[in-house]
Amino acid sequence: MSKVLSLDSTTESKADKISYSLIRYFTPMLILITISILTLTAIALLFIRIFLPDFRYSWLLATAGAFLAWISIFFWQLKMPFLLALPSWQPEYLFTDSPALLADQISWAYAFSVVTLGLGTLLTSTSHENRTTLAGTLILSIVGVLAVLAENPLTLVMAWTAIDLAELITLLQSVQEKRLRERVIIAFGARVIGSFFLIWAGLTSVAEGSALNFASAPQKAGIFMLIAAGLRLGILPMHMPFRAESLLRRGYGTMLRLTAAASSLILLARIPYSSLQSPFIPYLLGLVALTALYSAWMWFRTTKALDARPFWLLGMASLALAATLHANPIGSVAWGLALVLGGGVLFLSAIQNKMLNRLLMLSVFAMSTLPMTLTATGWENKSTQWWGFWLILLPAHALLLAGYFRQVRRINTDNLKNHNKFTVLIYPLGISFMLFTLLLLGIWGWQGAASIGAWQLSLISILLITLFVWAYPRIRSLIPLQAHWLKPDTKKSKNFIYVLSWNIYHFLRNLTFQLTDLLESDGGILWALLFIILFASLLAEGIR
């Protein structure tokens, strides 16, 4: 009997082993399935655009692809976390890391949001978008998913660069004015420098004797990772090099902006708090809190949501960064998801309808930080930072949501009744998908779901929101006469830092020109020989 049992158990364990190895082998393929669906659809769309320009079902194809990808992401929940290692870079002893993708509770939530945003963009594009950007939307979804799934900084900087290049090309095509193009380059520059800071964080880890990975970043690397995310999001230092949001309207523009933000926000959730033990952290937190308050104030006073999109991004991203500095990575994810999905719902809403407007109120609820909502974990604090920062962060949140509330209730001339039956049917579906995701993530699917959170702080925030919404129509100074400050910022700011940097640049330029003239002139050879003799004498001394 015992022999039979042991035989059975051996058979069982073998079967278990086989099924375990099958699962281990096939689970990472789930990522590939989602990426493949999106990629194949995008390729098909590009192919159709070139070879079958009269094809009438491009939108249907794009939407079907995005929907399938959306469904496929649910299957990741079957076996998380799992890692998809891409072919390793050779020789392995030179590269401490190779590209790899990780699906865990945090990255799943972001990936799900990015794909939902893509799907929402396509579904709402029936009303406002020209259909040439369908493939672009899918490509952005792919790059966005790759960025949020990045297992290590190497993968992340590669995805970041892909997004930066997509943004650069898109903006250069849509912007004509010289000054605005200069702003596009400055924005691109700031992001690229952000990427290089992340690479530098990796190098500081290597210098400490370990490879940079998100699980165990050394103390010196944390600050550089923070600067990288801050620079890319425009928080540290606060900058909005390109405010001409009106040039990148709904649809593709929203997708681009929010995907770029999501790809940077994921880093905030990955920075281990242990690596943020620096005496500068309280000052950084102060700076971040003030940025949040300023952008929330600007957002609150705006008349057109789309024009003030950078302030929404900046405000919510500042809250996410503040959560990271409060040792609350889950809270940071919550704010990030709210930025993407809440922003997506609002910025993609082009058409008015009573029912739709009421539905949109649900997103205010989802971002309210109340228990069981998406942002319930937003106010949690596991650090020993000074409590006074809440005095800035709470009003900032309240102003953002009060502004959001106002935007949702705005009166728009474009009514759903004026559109064809197809749009009447599909358009609300697009908005509903995003709202559904926003509410779903509050109760299911990731670490921050179904949380109670710091309900006392959320109650204060709700009170403040109510106060601001009540006060807005009653206090004249809150109502801007014109939104002139939102026009593209084309004037060069003549502040101290700008003048100082420009003077240093001129000084260095003149110095290099002088030296170049000296070395490239006819006497240059003699100067070079003199230098070489000096060099040789130093070298000989050094050897002795």
Partner: protein, 466 residues
């Protein structure tokens, strides 16, 4: 049949024959195909091993040949290097027609390459210096057409490269003495100093690189690009030959520090100079200097990376320079100048060609997704292991080059408000640059694609490869 005849003799004959075709496209095509064939044969045909052709017939390619009492030998270990050099040369030759310089570049380039390979294979080793000097003399008509008066850049190039020869020859003469009496510190000091000076001239180490930006202004960017790819590559391989041959030099305590210092000097100064430059050609020149600086830094990690970091840089740097100089040549041919003023807003007229300039520039900096990123990252990781100080100085050069990239980008996108998008440049030019951009992107994401080519390269230097 022997190897030097195939990979040195035949190319030298081809260098003469390739003057014959009257059409530039034919010259470029024949040159490219020949170089490709030489690369493929170096990759596939075994040396010093009998190849069975039939039951009765077998063929063996001998390793060496004697000429005037000197020996030129190409061993099986040299095969990957030959394949790499001829493969890269094929890229340059195919592009030469689009750059409008095929009639000069293909025959002269083939000759220069053959001589450089001879310089790496000649025994006694010191004769290499003379062969390199011959190759440099052949490069003069490539850089300055006979009908044109030579400019300052060409003359300075000739002076500096020629000055390298006596230093290297003297050093070689002293090295023989060092071998016989290794304890003689005085002799060792003199030999090392002369050798360092010789290579400082040959590799155009600061401040001896002034000929590069001047030459980029006055000569065809494609011709200069070819020299800027080939000369430092061969000079560095020549330097590796010295290190491989002389144990005392290899184990010289100050060697990594000296290489690092020279590398940092080049990366730092050229990067900063590039930041303030307003001429696209001169910027490329400075980037080429930064490339050499990176190679020197990679060599300073010799004991850790066993030459892998150095060889990893070769393909992305060569490819980047080819695309960059081809794009600049086309712009110079069509617009007459490469000054910022002249090329302002040109992206809308030359979207692919300008993209070629930008992609190559960003690749030289090591922007993620581009070919230069993986090797530069590996290099910086190697430097960081030694300490962040060195990496910081190298980063300064990167910042300078990055600034010049942003400035270039800002200038080329400044089109007049109502200008439309066009596609200037011939189909061949746009297609070649388009293929180059795709290759740079491919190598940026999948750098392991070239690993099979690189894996056996260090074996060429048996004492250095560990």
């Amino acid at each position: 049949m022997n190897a030097p005849l195939i990979w040195i003799g035949i190319p030298l004959i081809l260098a003469i024959l390739l003057w014959l075709p009257s059409r530039t496209k034919v010259t470029a095509f024949l040159g490219g195909i020949s170089a490709l064939f030489l690369a493929a044969s170096a990759w596939f045909i075994p040396i010093d091993t009998a190849i069975r052709i039939s039951d009765a017939l077998s063929l063996k390619i001998a390793v060496s040949i004697d000429i005037l009492g000197r020996q030129i030998s190409i061993t099986p270990a040299d095969k990957p290097l030959l394949a790499l050099l001829y493969g890269m040369a094929a890229i340059w030759f195919f592009g030469s027609s689009a750059a409008g310089i095929a009639r000069r570049l293909v025959p002269l380039g083939m000759g220069i390459l053959a001589l450089f390979i001879a310089s790496l294979s000649v025994k006694p080793f010191l004769y290499a210096a003379l062969i390199i000097e011959t190759a440099i003399l052949i490069a003069i008509p490539l850089l300055s057409p006979p009908e044109k008066k030579p400019g300052r850049g060409v003359i300075r190039f000739l002076i500096y490269q020629t000055l390298a020869m006596p230093f290297i020859l003297f050093a070689g003469w002293l090295l023989a003495g060092v071998e016989s009496s290794p304890g003689d510190i005085e002799l060792l000091t003199q030999a090392a100093t002369l050798l360092a000076l010789g290579f400082a001239f040959l590799l155009a180490i600061f401040p001896l690189y002034t000929w590069i930006p001047i030459l980029m202004e006055e000569a065809s960017p494609y011709a200069v690009g070819f020299i800027l790819w080939l000369l430092p590559s061969v000079a560095l391989l020549f330097a590796l030959g010295f290190l491989d041959r002389y144990a005392w030099l290899r184990n010289f305590a100050q060697l990594p520090a000296a290489l690092r210092f020279a590398g940092l000097l080049m990366v730092g100064t050229a990067g900063v100079w590039a930041a303030f430059e307003r001429h696209l050609g001169r910027i490329m020149g400075y980037a080429a200097i930064v490339n050499t600086g990176f190679s020197l830094l990679a060599l300073s990690l010799l004991h850790d990376s066993q030459l892998s970091a150095f060889f990893l840089l070769m393909v992305p740097q060569g490819l980047g320079l080819a695309i960059w100089s081809l794009s600049l040549s086309i712009l110079k041919l069509r617009e007459g100048s490469l000054n910022f003023k002249k090329i302002q807003g040109m992206i809308q007229q030359y979207p692919i060609i300008i993209s070629g300039v930008l992609v190559a520039h960003f690749s030289a900096i090591g922007l993620p997704l581009l070919a230069g990123f993986p090797p530069i990252l590996a290099l910086f990781e190697g430097l960081a292991k030694e300490g962040l100080f060195t990496a910081s100085w190298a980063a300064l050069g990167i910042v300078g080059l990055l600034t010049s990239a942003f400035r270039t980008l800002a200038v080329v996108v400044m089109s007049p408000k109502d200008s439309t998008w066009e596609m200037r440049g011939s189909w061949l030019q746009n297609i070649l640059i388009g293929i180059g951009i795709v290759l740079i992107l491919l190598l940026g994401v999948f750098p392991h694609l070239i690993y099979p080519i690189l894996v056996n390269l260090p074996a060429t230097f048996e004492h250095l490869s560990g």
